[in-house]
Structure formats: C-alpha cells, structure tokens
Symmetry: C2
Subunit: 537 residues, 2 copies
C-alpha cells in the first residue's frame, strides 16, 4: 500500500494483505497499518488498484471499513470484477463508488492527480502501471509486471508509452522488485502452453491441474489444451469456480458452453476424457487438492493412471505443505509434475534483465524499488545504479518512510509508524504481544491449572485441589502419576503456607506456581504455563 499525497489530498495505490507466518500463532491475516490514512480519511479521494491479486486488493474491505467509502475505487474491468465479489461478501458493495480504468486511454483526473494507466502483463489479466503527472514530471509506478512479448491475451506491457514518458523525462520510477535477484529474462506465459498441451495429450488417464485461481491465462491454456484433446473440464474449489466465472462473464476467459462440467458428473466420462482444474496449489488445508491428496475428497479419488500437475510454485513458507501434498499424491500412485521437474510454470514477475530494460526504457531521474523483501529491493536498487540512475537518486523506502519529490528529485523527509496489523478472529489491528507470547507458550508446552480452595479466615483447605493438564502430560500413563505428584506437591505447599502463616492469596499462588513449575520441568522436561487459582471461601 502506497500513499501519494498532493496539497494534502490523498491517492492510495493498492491495499493488499499477506498471510501469517508460522510464528504468528492463531492469526488469520496480516494487513497494512491504515492509521495514517484513517487520520486523513476525509482527504482520501481515490484508491487505485493495479491488479486483482490478494496482496494488492485483499485489504480493501478492511480499509474501507476503517476509512469509510468516500473515496472512489479505480481499477480495470477484471480487477473490478474481483473487487466487487469481495466487497459484496463484506456488505460494502452498495456504498462504494467504483470507476473503471481504461488503460492506454490518455489522462484522467484521479483524486488530486492527473493520472494515466499503462497496460502491463502479469500473472492475472488486466494489470496496469500507474502514471501520476506532477509539476516535476511524471511518477511511474509499474505495479506488478513482466515483459512478455507473446502474452496469452496479446496485450503486451506498453513499453512504447513508457518510452515516450521517458522521452518527456520521468521524475520517479517505482518498480516491482519480486524477481530482482533472478538473472536473465522471465519466459513468456505462452511457453508453458506447449508443455501443458503435451502433458494433457499424452496422459493415459485424468489430468488434474492446480494453479493460482486468479491466473486466468494459465487456466485458459489448460482449458484450451483439454478442448484440443477432446477432454471435458471440471473445475473444483470455490475460489477457482468464482474466478473462472468472473473471467468468463467479463470476456477474459473463453470456454465452450458445454466445456465445463460439475464434479458430480465426472463418473459419466472415461478418465482420458477428463481434465480437472482445482484449488490447492499451495497445499492449503481444506483445499480441493489437499483433500484429494488425503483421500478425503467426495468427488475425486486418485487412480494410478492420474497425472497431477502443480502449475505453480510454492510461495515462501508453503514449501513443506506443498511437498506433503506432492508426496501423498505420488504415494497414492499418481504421476505428479511440478515446476521442480517439469516445465509447467513461469513467473509473472520481471527478472533482473527485464527490470534493467524497464529502467532503460523509462530512464527515471529518481528510483524507488517497491514490492519485495528488503533483499530484493536492495538487488533492484543495484540494478538501477548499474542502469545509470545516480546512487543518490536511488532510495530504498521502508514501511512508513515519507519521500518528497521536488525539482531536485526524491528525498526522505520523515518516517511514520506504519507496520502491519493483524486480523485475529473478529479483532483487527491490536493483538497484544503478550497474547501472542502466551499462545506460543501454550502451543509449545501446554497448560497446568491448579485450584486450591481455602478458608478465608484460617487458610484451612476446604476441598481437594483440582489439577488440570492440557497439551502436556507424562506419556507413560497419560499423566496419572504426574497428577498424583502434583496433588501431593499442592498439599505440601498449602500445609507449609498455613504453618508459616503465609496465607495471603498472592503468596499461596506464587508458591503453588513455583512448586508445580519445578515439578513439571523435572518430571517431563517441559515448561507448561502454570496457572494457580486460590479460592477463598
């Protein structure tokens, strides 16, 4: 998410989300911190979305809930289709003013800027770069892009227009850094088609293909391959069905009317007459392919003649889950093809050579690498310097960095608090560190609860202590002996407290805590969270 500001009026570019890493116990989603925008909500005039991927549009409903729906939301037709479906789910569709971006159609007023949209190729159709004209020359933000000279829809990245902007003199380029560490050029999406066609043609039985559900061109190529071989396509998985429907309805995917069947009709066909397109390319729990791999899908069981194609790559953090899916499928007898072994995937992001070409086409006076981990931003910054942008005009901006553009170029003028906020159940934004720490502790070592009931006046023990252990026990006897030792320890502590007249509740609690923590550690080597409750009657 990037904010562009002019005369105090705001234009927001993209509002994406990411997924929690494994240390974010129990967290559902990770959003950008909206505070800066929320504090200026009345001056937010436009939200521009470059393309329909979750890491660019996924936070939009949360953003609109926070800042209201006064700003126009600009996006191309397919992106709008995906955004509408999302806003509808969150009950925000009726209140939001959506404006369609028509790339290559000259300049329009977008909030505080005269803007223009330049078509780029990416792994979802209808992606754009955004140009914001300023007194110091245009700012070009590439969005996510690749340089594909033979894209599936024939719509190449519009380098001609970008070169013309370069001739005018671009003040600042912000460009996608995802593949800045990857040398050479990213191959055309179309190069995968031949490989997929051969796989579908030669497969002895069913072909089951998974990919990113927004990768319409990839899915189109699979559908085309199926149709060319006289196979019928069955689409399985909610997001896959939704995205293909959106793309078909808006004319971004072309499928014969009888080309798609529902899963329950699969039995009507011979295996070699079928291609299944399904969700699950990231090994997501509950997704179609994961359930198929677990032998747990109602409509699809793996046969030894099945060919499964993961036409995708594992997003960092998902490698182990994807591996497990692949291993399970192979174990069930399927032939499994992945990008590690077969030519079934190409990236949607420009590699270092392409990025250099972009830099040489736009010839910006200043450069800010965006969209990537720090190591990628840094690699991209080095490419920019090698391409002739002066070192002092290349700025790596971190979350919250405020850059100012003037006639001398771009400079860092401030830093605001702007990290991530977490979605945790119904709560958005404010999960306390201690809560996450406690979850980590509970998740690793479990919990031990002791309840001691004593008389308020005499500290006499009024009931047997109750001890509960969860996520933690001694395995030999499911913890029975340990429970018994814990009871003995509790009774000893309570007796000592009475004998020593140390009967204040917090003292008794502390002593119970220490005794049980020590016992647990000694007996099991684990350090459960020990929660003593002393009830005074």
């Amino acid at each position: 998410m990037t904010v562009f500001e002019r005369d105090g009026r705001l234009l927001l570019l993209d509002a994406g989300l990411s997924f929690p890493h494994s240390e974010m116990f129990g967290i559902d989603l990770v959003l950008p911190d909206f505070s800066y925008v929320a504090e200026r909500a009345d001056r937010l005039e436009a939200i521009v979305l470059t393309h329909g991927h979750e890491d660019h549009i996924g936070a939009l409903p949360y953003l609109l809930r926070e800042v209201g729906t006064n700003a126009e939301v600009w996006a191309t037709r397919l992106t709008l289709g995906m955004v509408k479906s999302k806003l509808d789910e969150h009950g925000l569709l009726a209140h939001t003013e959506l404006v369609e971006i028509k790339p290559g159609n000259g300049t329009v007023k977008v909030g505080p800027f005269t803007a223009e949209f330049v078509r780029v190729t990416h792994s979802v159709p209808d992606a754009v770069a955004v140009v914001l004209h300023t007194d110091f020359g245009p700012i070009v933000h590439t969005g996510d892009f690749k340089l594909d000279e033979t894209p599936v829809d024939g719509r190449v990245t519009d380098l001609t227009r970008l070169a013309a902007l370069g001739d005018e003199g671009v003040a600042l380029l912000l460009a996608d850094s995802t593949n800045a560490e990857r040398p050479g050029h990213t191959p055309s999406e179309r190069t995968v088609a031949a490989s997929l066609r051969e796989i579908v043609r030669d497969a002895p039985g069913r072909v089951i293909v998974t990919s990113f559900s927004s990768h319409i061109h990839r899915l189109q190529q699979v559908i085309d391959a199926a149709q060319a071989c006289g196979r019928t396509v069955c689409v399985i998985g909610r997001s896959m069905i939704r995205n293909i429907n959106i793309a078909r309805n808006l004319g971004y995917a072309s499928v014969a009317d009888d080309g798609l069947i529902r899963a329950k009709r699969l039995d009507e066909f011979m295996p070699h007459e079928i291609v299944i397109i399904c969700t699950g390319s990231q090994g997501e729990p509950g997704s179609a392919l994961t359930r198929i791999a677990l032998g747990d899908h109602p409509a699809v069981q793996i046969h030894h003649t099945d060919t499964v194609v993961l036409s995708s790559w594992p997003v960092p953090g998902n490698e182990v889950k994807v591996n497990e899916t692949v291993n399970r499928l192979a174990r069930l007898g399927a032939k499994v093809m992945t990008e590690a072994t077969d030519y079934v995937h190409v990236s949607g992001h420009a590699s270092a050579g392409d990025l250099t070409r972009m830099l040489e086409t736009v010839r910006p006076r200043s450069f800010v690498p965006v969209h990537g981990e720090f190591r990628m931003l840094q690699a991209h910054a080095r490419l920019a310097e090698a391409a002739g942008v002066p070192g002092h005009a290349v700025r790596i901006a971190d979350n919250g960095t405020i850059l100012e553009l003037d006639e001398d170029g771009v400079s860092v003028v401030g830093q605001i608090e702007a990290g991530t906020i977490l979605v945790d159940g119904l709560s958005v934004g404010n999960v306390r560190d201690v809560v996450l720490r406690d979850r980590r502790h509970l998740g690793s070592d479990g919990v031990m609860i002791v309840v001691a009931t004593i008389a308020a006046d005499s500290a006499e023990v009024l009931a047997d202590p109750e001890i509960i252990m969860r996520g933690f026990d001694s395995p030999e006897d499911d913890g029975e002996a340990l429970l018994e030792q814990a009871r003995t320890a509790v009774e000893r502590v309570l007796d000592e407290c009475v004998a020593q007249r140390a009967t204040e509740v917090h003292v008794v609690q502390q002593r119970l805590h220490d005794a049980l923590a020590e016992l647990a550690s000694r007996a099991t080597g684990k350090r459960p969270m020990v929660l003593p409750v002393v009830v005074e009657v």
Copy 2:
C-alpha cells in the same frame, strides 16, 4: 535407518533424526521408531554409520539408550570423531564399542555380514558406501553421495571399485535420492572455492560466512581463502567450533596455528583483515548469525562495509527464517550473498545425471531408491528403469516395508509398524495425539478458565467466580469488558442450575463450558479452550 537381517542377526545402517515441522507443536526432535530393533536388541550386532550428518547419526544416543550398547558401532575416523562427541554428551561413550571403518581396505566381518566400505564424496568428509556380501551377490548401499571428480580432499567416489562389483553382478543397489528430481550433474565442491576466494579478496570490510557446521571442506575453503588474502579467521557458534576442532584434531582440516582467533580479539584487527565463520545458515533462533542479524550478538555488530555470505541453502521448512535473517542483515547495511544470487554453494548430493551414472556403473539386478521424500524416490525409480533395471526389479520401500532378497531378486514380504517417534522434553516416543491437538488449539486460540465454588449440599455459590484468560482477550480493553461479561454469564448459569436443580458437577461444568464458549466466539471470533472447574465445598 535401515535394518539388514541375515539368519535373524541384525545390522543397522544409520540412525538419523529429523527436525519437527511447524505443525508439531512443542516437539524437539523426530526419531525413527526403534521398536522393531528394540524387540530384537539381543540380536543387533552392528550399527554402521555412513557419514557424520545429523540425519544419519543424530538418533544414535536415543537408539543406544533403548537397545543397549551391545552392538559395535562402525564408522570412519571423522564420523567416529563426531559420534564420540555426541555419545559423550549423553554419557554413553564409555559403554559403546566403536570400530573404525577403513574404506577401500577389502572385506571385514561386520555383524552377520561380510562387508566392505567404498569411499564416496559428500558434503561432509569421510563418507562411505556400504557393501554387504550375500549368497546372491553383493548389496550396495551408497549412503549420501555426489560424484565430484575434483573434491577438496582429492578423495573421489570410488567408482572403480563399484564398477568391479558391478562386473561380479550386484544383487541390489540402494541409492541416495535427494537430488533425483534435479537434472544434470552436481558441480564439484571445488567450483565454489574460486567464487569464495574472489568474494573474500574483493570485500571492503569483514566477510562473515555461514554454512553447515559439518561441511568441513566448505569451511576449509573459506579458511584457505582468508589465509590467501592475509585475513585472520574467527569462528563463532558452538557446533561450528566443535566440528572444526574435531576435524583439525583428526587431520581433516588444516589451519595455521595462529590462523584462528577468538571473538573477543576481533577488535584488534581492521575489518578487511577478518573473516568470520559462524553458525546460523538455517536462520536457527539463537544461532550466531541470527543474533547478529537481530543486532543482539555480544561480539559482532553489522557495519555497512560487511559482506555476509550464506554458503548454504535453506533446508525445506526454513525458507522463511533464512529470508528473515537475510533481510535483517541487508537492512543493517551488509552486502548479503546467497545461493539465490551468487555462486556460493553447491549441493552434496548427486543429481539425476550422476545417479544414472551410478546405476550404469553398478548395474544392479534390483534397485531400491532410498533417502528422500516419496516424490524423489519415485523420480529415482524412473531413472533406474531408464537405466535398464527392469520395472519389476525396482521397489519403492516405505517406512516399515520388509524386503527379501533371494536369487530371483528383491520382493516385498511384509510391513511392520515403523513411523517416527517424537522427542518432547524428556519424553521420547509416545506423545499422544490429543496432547498435540490440545497444543494446536491452545496455540491458536488460547485458554479460558472459570472456577466456580459451590456448596456441596445446596449448590449455593460460595465465592465469586474466578475467570482467567490467556492467549486470548478482546483487544480494545485487554479483555476487561469480556471478563465482566463472562462473570455475568457464569452467575447466570449457576443461578439457572440451582433453579433447575441441575447441580451435578458435570452438568454445571458442561453448562459453564457452553455459555463461555458461545460468549467467546460471539465477542471475539476466537474459540479458546474453555476449562470450567467446579469446586464443591
């Protein structure tokens, strides 16, 4: 871990461990299930270790504790050095009979077999393949290997001996499948040397290198590069120091006497006079490089002239942690070089082309791919068929599969229970599923405990209910309002129970549970573990 059995007498080949994946909450280590061997401990005569990596020797102390120390442990000199250090830590060294393997030295009696050891190259020195002679011809187990024609120690994989065995007629080949999906040939370890030398030579300041601590040849090349450039080497990190010491003492690493300094002497040198070798190539929490990246290391703070080299690759599952380390180091101003961007690492495992060469050298009558995930075993099986091993003579064996070798080749004759066992604190082997499920639940949604104290006779409430929430709260007010609502709900439930004479403890508990679970879910969207305790006085 593989068991070879003859006339009821056992030889064990390798005893490795693996590390828990992120769904194994709180688990420390993953071991092979020893039950089969433990039940036949009196007939276990020899344990042969092919090389000194954790996934081949790490489970040895646990195994010996379970089956006793009657069996001889065979390994080469360096592997023995590493094993000794491990057994010493576990107090097992004095009781274990260690026998040194001398590769290339002809046949010896090892337990029930006439065996022979063939030198192979791998990413730790002194690795061997194991040959077990049988009435049906030799069995060859490659161990982990690569075909490196110019290894750093000059000790190539002994293809000559393997070819001679092939001439005799090898009954069964078992071979390393790690890189079976990778086409072509694995480059020589020595090819990294030139690259490392250049990096060390050209670096403006310190060079900080991390790699696997057992990768003695890699470390040697770094040390050589440092010495060639007149730099002094400082080794940081416990396992790195230990392994380099073992290798030096046994003559597997050569370092000038004044070549290594301790971290506290770093200040005596100029940055360009220093190379630091440290642990942390997998982003391990608490390791030297991770602490350096966090700005939390007592002896090393990153300067903007530092060059950090990750001469390694992220083991699957560690990608995110490694990435985070790289990003942090880059953010601190270091130049960071990884295998993704620079030629700083080669694999220690044979690629598909090398595996084919091994198959064509040994020409086995039967083939079993080993050491790899199922997808890799399957890829290796395909290579074997392509190399001329008949399809029916290629067997993919899962954990627990019993294969029998006779004059007709190898066939599956049974399956035993043999998965993994878990080390959880002091407990080895028997973590109940419910414990892991509870940890997952606690780690994701936290815990809510309610203690209600009632009179045994009347069910009258004798004390205010105590409510504790951990890993879970409503974020606006740190859970205060939620606590209040919970108290109200508890009082209402208790009143209802009394009114309805439903005062049996389990009924009251169930109702408290349901009311609080419903409240938590409605108020926060989370589903904490709800643990009601009813104390009767």
